[in-house]
Amino acid sequence: MILVFGAVLLWVFGWWLNSRLASGPWADTRMVRFLAPLVFGLTVVGIWEMLVRGLDVPLVILPAPSVIALRFADSMPILWADFVQTIIKGAFSGYVIGCGAAFLMAIAVDRWDFLRLGLLPVGNFVAALPIVGTAPILVMWYGFDWHSKAAVVVVMVFFPMLVNTVAGLREATTMQRDLMETYAATYWQSFVKLRLPAAMPFIFNGLKISTTLALIGAIVAEFFGSPIVGMGFRISTSVGQLSLDMVWAEIVVAALAGTAFYGLVAMIEKAVTFWHPSQRG
C-alpha cells in the first residue's frame, strides 16, 4: 500500500518538476527540451515499478521494469541472435532491395508520363492496403528463413517509397527546368544536378516511413512461420510460455532498433538535405 501511495507521490512530484521546467526561465532552452521528456519517462517507469510491486501484479500480466531489465541483461546472446536474424537479415536487406527497386521504378515512372498517370493511382491505392497480409503467401514461397521476411519487407516498403520518390522528382519548378534547358543540359545532367537533389526531402520522407514498415513486416511475417530464432518467433513463443519478461525484453530491442534505424536515416537526411528550410532550423 505504501508503494502505491509512493507512486501517486512520484506522479505529483514528476508533474510538479516538469511544470517548473516548462514555466521556468530556461523553458525554451535545449536542456529543458531534453530533460522534460526524460523526467516524464522516468516517472512513468518509476510508477510502473511501484504499482506492480505494491499491488502484487503477477508476472503473467505485467512484469516490473526491473524484472525486464534483468531479463534483458541475462538474455543478451539470445536477443542479439534474434536481432541479427530479424532486423539485419530480414528487415534491413528487404529495406535496401525494396527502396532501391522503388527508386529505379520511380525514375521510369517519372520519365514516361503514361506510366505516371497509370501507376501512381494504383501505387497510392496499394500503399493504403494491409500488405502484411501477403506474409503467409510469401512465407509459403520463400520458406521459413529470413528470405521470406525480406520479401514481405520489399512488398511493404515498395509503394510508399515509390509514391514519395515520384512526388519528389516532380518538385523542381518549371522555371528551374527551363534554366537547365537553356544550359543545353541532357536529361541525365538535369536529373543528377537539379531534379534528384530537389527530390531528396521527399525521398527521405519515404525512407523514414519505410524504416518502421520494414520492422513491422519482418516481425509480423515471423508469426506465420520462422526458424527457431527471430524476434517475432521469440515474442509469439514466449507469450505462449507466459514468460512476459522475455516478451518485454524483445519489445525493448524492437523499440531501440526502430529508433536507431530511424535516427540513422534522419542523420543521413540532415547531411544530404542541409540546404532545405526544414533542416536549417
Binding site: N18, A36, P37, I61, P130, T134, I219, V247
Partner: protein, 305 residues
C-alpha cells in the same frame, strides 16, 4: 479520360503478368498431377524434374499450360480463381455461414471500427491537451513522435494473451490493438493541425478579446480539419492492420486474419488470396469513405480546393 485509360492499361498489365507468373510457379505441381493421371510428361519422373528450371519445363510441356491456371491448390492461384472464390464466398454464401467472407469481414471490421473510434477519440483529446498545456507538450509530445518509429504491433500477441488471462476476450483485445495503432498518428497529425493557424490569425482573435475556448472552437478546430482527415486515413488503415494481426496469435476462429492463418496452415492458397483481397477491398472502402466525408466536410466549410 487519359488517366482512366492509363490506369486500366496498368491494371491489365498487372493481370497479364500475374497469369504469366502462374505458369512457371505452378508447372511442377501440375506435371506431377498429370503424371499421376497417366499423361506423357517430359521428363517423366518427379526426381528428374526437380533439378530442371521451371521455364524449361514449361517449354518442353507446353500442353500443360492451361492446367496451371486451374490447379486446386496452386502455389500462385490465377486471377479468375481468386475472383470466383471471392464471388462464391461473398455473394454465393449465406452471410451467417462460417465460410462466408462477409461474416469474417464483419468480425474484423467491427473490431477495427471500435478500436478506431477509441483511438481517434483519445488521440484528439491528447492533442488538445498538448496544444493547450506547455507541460504536456514538453513531456508527452517527444514520446508520441518516438512511438511512430517503433514497431508497436509487436505488442499485439502479448495484449491478446494477457487480456485473455484476466478474462477479457472477443472483440475487446483486437479493438485495443487497433486503438493504439491509430492513436499515435492521430495525435501527431492533430497537434500539427491545431497549431496550423498562424500568428496573424491568433492575434486577430486576441484583438476580439476571444478566450481560449472560443479560440479553440472558432479557429484552431476548423483549421485542423485537413490535418485531421489526413491522419484519420492513416489511422484507419493502421487499425485494420491491427485487427488482422490481432487475430493471428491466438488462433482465432473468425475474422480475415483467421482466414489467412487457416489458409496458410492447410495450404489453401486460393483462400489466402481471397481473404487478402477481401482485406484490401475493405481497406479501400474505409479509406474511400473517409475521403468522401472529408470532401463533404471541407466543402461545407469552404476549404475544398
Amino acid at each position: 479520360m487519359k488517366q482512366i485509360v492509363a490506369v486500366l492499361t496498368v491494371v491489365a498489365a498487372i493481370v497479364a503478368i500475374w497469369y504469366a507468373a502462374c505458369v512457371p510457379m505452378n508447372i511442377k505441381g501440375v506435371l506431377s498431377e498429370l503424371e499421376r493421371g497417366g499423361a506423357e510428361v517430359q521428363p517423366p519422373t518427379a526426381s528428374a524434374r526437380r533439378d530442371i528450371g521451371e521455364v524449361r519445363l514449361v517449354l518442353s510441356n507446353s500442353f500443360a499450360i492451361p492446367a496451371t491456371w486451374e490447379q486446386k491448390k496452386p502455389r500462385l492461384p490465377s486471377p479468375h480463381q481468386v475472383a470466383i472464390e471471392l464471388w462464391e464466398t461473398t455473394i454465393g454464401k449465406n452471410i451467417t455461414s462460417k465460410r462466408s467472407l462477409v461474416y469474417h469481414g464483419w468480425v474484423t471490421l467491427s473490431a477495427t471500427m471500435l478500436g478506431f473510434v477509441i483511438g481517434t477519440g483519445l488521440g484528439i483529446l491528447l492533442a488538445v491537451g498538448i496544444v493547450h498545456s506547455r507541460v504536456m507538450d514538453l513531456s508527452v509530445m517527444p514520446w508520441a513522435i518516438v512511438s511512430q518509429t517503433i514497431p508497436i504491433i509487436a505488442l499485439a500477441p502479448m495484449i491478446i494473451v494477457v487480456l485473455y488471462s484476466v478474462g477479457v476476450q472477443g472483440i475487446i483485445p483486437k479493438a485495443i490493438i487497433s486503438a493504439y495503432l491509430s492513436f499515435f498518428p492521430v495525435v501527431v497529425g492533430m497537434v500539427k493541425g491545431l497549431r496550423s493557424p498562424d500568428a496573424m490569425q491568433l492575434d486577430l482573435l486576441r484583438t476580439y478579446n476571444a478566450n481560449t475556448s472560443q479560440g479553440f472552437w472558432k479557429l484552431r478546430l476548423p483549421a485542423s480539419m485537413p490535418y485531421l482527415f489526413a491522419s484519420l486515413k492513416i489511422g484507419i488503415a493502421a487499425s485494420l492492420v491491427g485487427a488482422i494481426v490481432g487475430e493471428l496469435p491466438t488462433g482465432a476462429v473468425a475474422g480475415l486474419g483467421a482466414r489467412l492463418l487457416a489458409g496458410s496452415y492447410y495450404g489453401q492458397t486460393v483462400q489466402i488470396w481471397s481473404a487478402l483481397f477481401a482485406a484490401a477491398i475493405l481497406a479501400a472502402c474505409l479509406v474511400g469513405l473517409l475521403g468522401l466525408i472529408e470532401r463533404a466536410v471541407l466543402k461545407r466549410m469552404g476549404m475544398a480546393q
